[in-house]
């Protein structure tokens, strides 16, 4: 995973991402648990959150101040990427996020491909397949499993047990992401308001 990133044409953030991955793998110590239960506790640990926050800060520093289409999306994608890096690529969704970002960066100039890649990376529900699922009258559980599979990145066509396992880890990671980002936003807003008040 890391090697493919390094070999590609490098933009600033890409380079930083690769380096972050390397450093993360070297420096951070994580629990080596396999089962979903262990993984969720791993995501809740403070060390994970601290590591994620720091990496997120570095990533956000490198985000261009205001990308034209939507300012929030670049930040969100950066945040997701950092989250995937923190996951160390053990789960499908993290690998899917990283490879999607890679495709996006690599084919950056090609607008059409970028749209496709972003559509994939955004995990939006294409309407056609939803209708098709309804028409087929699949059992309810199957239908919902497919929906969940689309929500979790990289799990569109996986069987139900895999989706459940990925969803467990993904939910834990998302919770940590929300916590970190909210703390960060709060700090920034506080400090921003504080400094503006003082001036």
């Amino acid at each position: 995973m890391a090697s493919t990133v390094i070999s590609n044409p490098i933009t600033n953030s890409n380079r930083a991402t690769s380096r972050k991955k390397k450093k993360a793998l070297q420096a951070t110590s994580r629990d080596q648990s396999q089962n979903p239960n262990g993984a969720t506790t791993q995501w809740k640990s403070e060390s994970q959150q601290a590591a994620y926050s720091s990496k997120l800060l570095h990533a956000l520093r490198q985000v261009r101040p205001s990308p034209a289409p939507r300012p929030g999306r670049a930040v969100r994608e950066a945040a997701d990427r950092v989250l995937a890096v923190t996951a160390k690529g053990r789960t499908r969704w993290s690998r899917a996020i990283l490879t999607n970002r890679l495709k996006l960066k690599f084919m950056k100039n090609n607008r059409r491909q970028r749209v496709v890649a972003t559509a994939v990376s955004r995990s939006k529900k294409p309407r056609v397949s939803v209708l098709r699922l309804r028409c087929k009258n699949l059992p309810a559980v199957q239908r919902k499993a497919r929906v969940l599979g689309r929500l979790v990145p990289g799990c569109k066509k996986e069987p139900l047990p895999v989706i459940l396992e990925e969803a467990t880890d993904y939910i834990a990671a998302l919770e940590m992401q929300v916590r970190a980002m909210s703390a960060l936003a709060e700090l920034l807003s506080i400090s921003g308001s504080g400094s503006s008040g003082s001036s």
């Binding site: 450093k23 520093r61 929030g72 969100r76 700090l187 504080g194």
Partner: protein, 432 residues
């Protein structure tokens, strides 16, 4: 006869319990009828008896031999009254079961081994004629134990095919039982008695155990012996098809993971059923993703001042950032390296980092409270360019940062110059 009577009654009673076809009363009645008949025979035809067997002169014979010969005589010459419902085998069993008092009550607790024991015990002291009957009944009995325990071990039978690596107790029982039935006709009698008594006890106990175990180990999935196979024990009363076993394993995996998710997703404790749970999970994931979106929008809005406090966030999550700290940091900022520590003086580094980037005076104004504005600008102009020339490698700087961050923990102080140099250089490099 009197001595044999209660024993025979006892022995006959217990198979009645197992077989279920005979009631106790009916067996008793039959037994009594038979005994009465025998007594009648003895009483009515003593001369015949004695004539037929010259060697038996009187009643001085031991009881068992007397009974034995009674039966022989009865079998050979006299009318064999067909006991209602009992075949010949039972007759002999009853008689010899009484004689084999050693075997009598101990091994005959319950279980399918009963018929087995009867068939086996008769070989103890049976002459050839009776032995023939015994073998016949033994063969019949060999079928019935299978049928008896098949109800219990049917699953385990079929499971043996489906699950070849697991040795079941029922299998262990069935095979030795059949072997022993064949053996009994050939081996020594006394030796067989003990073996069979032990085995009968074992089989009966094992049959009980199988019933208990299959109900107790309901969902036992043991990965034993070979790591490639997942050994599943079929539950009592459930299909033992290989397909259904695999299906059960899959279902159990899914339910286990749903349990994890139930712990994770709030508010899922009341909901049972996969569909409802999946709905909740989907809603939760969507809400989390929306939250991330919202927060990222918020961060994007705050992004210009993102690097303002960036270094202050390395230490902790919730950082009590306040303007007073900034003021302190600014005033003592000339001696930057001395103040580069994580805890409250972290803002110093943040200030220095900030200064590198923020070239606009309004940002400087925003940052400081009372410090002179010109000071940071001069600092910026002087130091940054020097730093740019000195620090060349982007990798090295980042490596310093990361190593210091992650390895040294939160409360350690950086080698200050390195940090500031790298920080400034990195910031500058971003800008330029």
């Amino acid at each position: 006869m009197n001595r044999a009577l209660p024993e025979m009654l006892h022995c006959i009673n217990t198979p009645g319990n197992i077989a279920g076809s005979f009631t106790d009363m009916s067996v008793l009645e039959r037994q009594r009828a038979r005994i009465k008949w025998q007594q009648e025979q003895l009483l009515n035809q003593p001369p015949c008896y004695f004539e037929g067997n010259d060697q038996f002169n009187g009643y001085s014979m031991p009881n068992h031999a007397q009974d034995f010969h009674n039966l022989i005589s009865s079998e050979v010459g006299l009318v064999v009254k067909a006991d209602p419902g009992l075949d010949n085998g039972w007759q002999e069993f009853g008689q010899f079961g009484g004689e084999g008092s050693g075997l009598g009550s101990s091994g005959f607790v319950n279980g399918s081994g009963f018929e087995l024991n009867y068939g086996i015990s008769t070989t103890l002291s049976c002459p050839q004629e009776v032995a023939a009957a015994v073998t016949e009944t033994a063969r019949r009995e060999s079928v019935s134990p299978e049928k008896m325990s098949s109800a219990v071990g049917r699953e385990s039978f079929k499971k043996r095919k489906a699950d070849r690596n697991q040795s079941l107790k029922a299998v262990a029982e069935e095979e030795p039982n059949e072997k022993r039935i064949k053996e009994c006709n050939e081996e020594d009698e006394s030796k067989i008695t003990e073996e069979y008594s032990n085995n009968s006890k074992n089989t009966t106990n094992n049959d009980n155990n199988i019933k208990r175990e299959t109900s107790a180990d309901t969902s036992k999935v043991s990965e034993v012996q070979k790591p490639d196979y997942i050994h599943v024990r079929a539950r009592r009363g459930q299909a033992t098809d290989s397909h259904s076993l695999a299906e059960r394993v899959r279902r159990e995996k899914i339910s286990e993971r749903m349990k994890y998710l139930q712990d994770l997703v709030p508010g899922c404790n009341k909901i049972t059923g996969k569909a409802g749970m999946l709905d909740e999970i989907i809603n939760y994931v969507q809400s989390l993703q929306r939250q991330v979106e919202f927060l990222s929008m918020k961060l994007a809005a705050v992004n210009p001042s993102l690097d303002f406090n960036i270094d202050s966030f390395f230490a902790k999550e919730v950082f009590p950032a306040s303007t007073s700290n900034f003021a302190i940091g600014v005033q003592s900022e000339i001696t930057n390296p001395a103040y580069l520590q994580f805890n409250p003086l972290q803002q110093l580094a943040s200030c220095t980092g900030l200064e590198m980037e923020i070239n606009t005076p309004d940002m400087a104004l925003r940052r400081t409270t009372s410090a002179p504005i010109s000071l940071p600008e001069t600092f910026l102009n002087s130091s940054c360019f020097d730093q740019i020339q000195t620090s060349t490698a982007w990798d090295g700087n980042l490596q310093n940062i990361y190593s210091m961050e992650f390895l040294q923990g939160r409360s350690t102080s950086f080698s200050a110059q390195q940090f500031t140099g790298s920080n400034e250089a990195s910031n500058l490099k971003m800008e330029m």
